[in-house]
Subunit: 202 residues, 2 copies
């Protein structure tokens, strides 16, 4: 059975857990503690030299890292990854947007607030993430006013990628009340059969 190395508290790892739930994919979970530094230990670096989770290990021992690459690999051939060339390119567009223009603001602000407890010496860093995070939400809102999901009318891995940290954006100080299309979209995802909620440590 394939293994997924991850931290159940991480949004990037949660994306993979959510997709596996939606597609009823079986896997063995291997918990890795980021805060304790386990991703920097040699045993883990031999599996992923970039020292990041989630990490997928296939039955034959091959490894795949980067949450969005894992999502698309697992969703291959399913309804969650459109076969159409342009639609698939749009899925990637949103996933690259997520990693460059969304996650570094929203996930990092949330990390500083929720996991580090917003210490004084990180406050400027936390505040510097707000403008970029709001801009990313505005880009999403603009699309979700026009279509039910990020790429047309069907749920795709693009939605799963963006859902990961968007649905907990309030924990990073982002107020979703001024983004009605995003709120409608969150509900649409949460009402999908086999939806799995994120593990919370609260």
């Amino acid at each position: 059975m394939m293994k997924i190395y991850g931290d159940a508290q991480s949004g990037n790892c949660y994306k993979v857990m959510l997709l596996c739930s939606l597609l009823k994919i079986q896997y063995q979970w291997v918990e890795v503690d980021i805060l304790a530094g386990e991703t920097g230990e040699n045993m883990f670096l031999r599996k992923n030299p970039n020292g990041k989770i989630p990490l997928l290990e296939l039955d034959d021992g091959r490894y795949l890292s980067e949450s969005n690459a894992i999502l698309n690999y697992l969703a291959h051939g399913s309804a969650f990854l459109p076969a159409d060339r342009f639609a698939q390119a749009k899925v990637l567009q949103w996933q690259f947007f997520e990693q460059y223009s969304h996650e570094p603001f929203i996930a990092v602000a949330r990390f500083i607030a929720k996991y580090l407890g917003l210490p004084e010496d990180r406050r400027a860093d936390y505040e510097s993430k707000q403008e970029g995070g709001v801009k990313a939400l505005m880009v999403m809102e603009s699309q979700l006013k026009d279509s039910r999901f990020l790429v047309g009318e069907e749920l795709s891995t693009a939605d799963i990628s963006l859902y990961g940290y968007t649905h907990v954006a309030h924990e990073g100080g982002f107020d979703l009340s001024s983004f009605p299309a995003i709120q409608r979209w969150l509900q649409d995802i949460e009402s999908t059969p086999n939806y799995l909620a994120m593990t919370s440590n609260n």
Copy 2:
């Protein structure tokens, strides 16, 4: 004919120009001046609400943004995007690595040094990028000791993505002399038929 909106000085735009040259794809180039703020103007934001280049406009008026999504769209069906499911996932793995763990360090350090002239008030920012950039180069070096290109023995869009800013990493203060496998790989890419060098403003 399809249009590409970009700034010839940007490594993210250069990636697309390089792929088009390698594949002999014809396009109309529309120059957009980032430093003059043209990507933030309403006329551009209507094309790409995220306000970033490169941006691809197809013949039928549809738009696609994010350099790596554009690369894979254009390379679809060519030798530069492997059809094998796992190999294609590895291409994506490297492209997400590029956007999250490489570009924010190496391209940003280069931008501060080359385009802003390393002003005193950005020196701390510049220096904070060095460790992450070196780490990204070490991850690449580790792979390129094992295989000719990032995903096996053939050039793929993963290499084009990483080549964009790696081959000008010295302009961001990164010394490639301690990365012999990366240097060998740069030469292999530069000797590919129809290779196109980056436009330099020097």
